[in-house]
Symmetry: C3
């Protein structure tokens, strides 16, 4: 774990927080400013990728339109720098959603697994995969699982 580079860390943490703020304000155009133009993003379903910021903005706009309110709360972030201008960042998130259709509130318990790149405009997300521990208020079809290790079978006497 590299623990210096406070300025770079702060830039990444600020970008992560801005993404959440702008999601909750339903401002998808501003929200995707934290991504590279040619980003790749998966919000669910292993292997289903959104290609590029334009497509991402459209996808987020559609998703956010399903809700009348959301609240994304970020937990601890782990950042690992792989070079002067590249990093990975993993961040837990609890995201509350109130449906526009009057259905039960949705809470997603997940994790953002991100690759960051320092562009001429600053640190940006190149690749984001959203993985989910679980959800309440919706089924979990179409979500990428967190990858929890199965519980080992207890040894049984015979």
């Amino acid at each position: 774990v590299s623990t210096d580079r406070c300025g770079d860390r702060t830039a990444i943490l600020e970008g992560l927080a801005a993404y959440c703020r702008l999601a909750d304000l339903n401002r998808p155009d501003e929200q995707t400013a934290v991504f590279l133009d040619d980003c790749r993003v998966s919000y669910g379903g292993p292997g289903r990728w959104i290609e590029g910021r334009t497509a991402l903005t459209a996808s987020l706009r559609r998703s956010l339109a399903s809700y009348v309110a959301t609240s994304h709360l970020l937990g601890g972030t782990e950042i690992a720098f792989s070079g002067a201008d590249t990093a990975t960042a993993e961040t837990a998130v609890h995201a509350w959603h109130r449906r526009a259709d009057g259905g039960p509130d949705v809470v997603l318990y997940g994790r953002y697994v991100d690759e960051w790149v320092r562009s001429p405009d600053g640190w940006r997300i190149a690749v984001r995969e959203f993985r989910t521990a679980g959800a309440t208020g919706r089924d979990e079809t179409g979500l990428t699982p967190l990858g929890r290790q199965p519980v080992a079978e207890p040894a049984t006497p015979y």
Copy 2:
């Protein structure tokens, strides 16, 4: 985004966390030590402001007395310095409350929008506005809305 000034950032983040810890411990006198004497604070209702730390302490004491337990969890914070001794900070929060009257638990999904000032005693909150995305277990009357952009009407064929 200024991304240096790690010491100033840490002071603000520590103050935000201390406020939450002391709320959950029901210690309003200590909780308001993070505010300026002449602070202005709004916990709900646009335009309703509590003026000064003494009034704030009394207000928090009354509010906390409605609950037997609370738990305030802060998400990502965005800090912008407007000068050597001034900053704005926005922080998401999920705040769980167990009512003293036996009613359903309350969860507030909100955001602190703060103005910070470096005083002779260190960084302090000069102005705080609490805005709410939504709540469960209570109605949302008297809360200041987050300001979410309305969903655009979809184009309808004719």
Copy 3:
């Protein structure tokens, strides 16, 4: 509040986040790498302490096996350095658990109260006490309370 030592702070924050990530991945062996070999940990019940990393790993393995999914979200952390190689850290946490037995989801609203030591391998947790503001989906028997100050009796007229 000491507000420099950004590198030491980052190391502690990264360790706290790694613990949560590895809990949610059900990897107790890796999860306890953030603790000293001779750590002391209490997850509930004042005075009930798990002694040493080997015992801690076994305890966490048993606990995690009760769930099919968990999601630990950390809130703000307050860190106070008591010397070059020692610190205390307090961190709020909301921890969602989905039971393996099909019972209702459990959410713990708590706080980690930790003592950290810089070992030859880096910063490690020497002592951890988990305290709980409250819980939903389970009773609160066997949990160490947060220590919330009781609400003063209102003055009653006679």
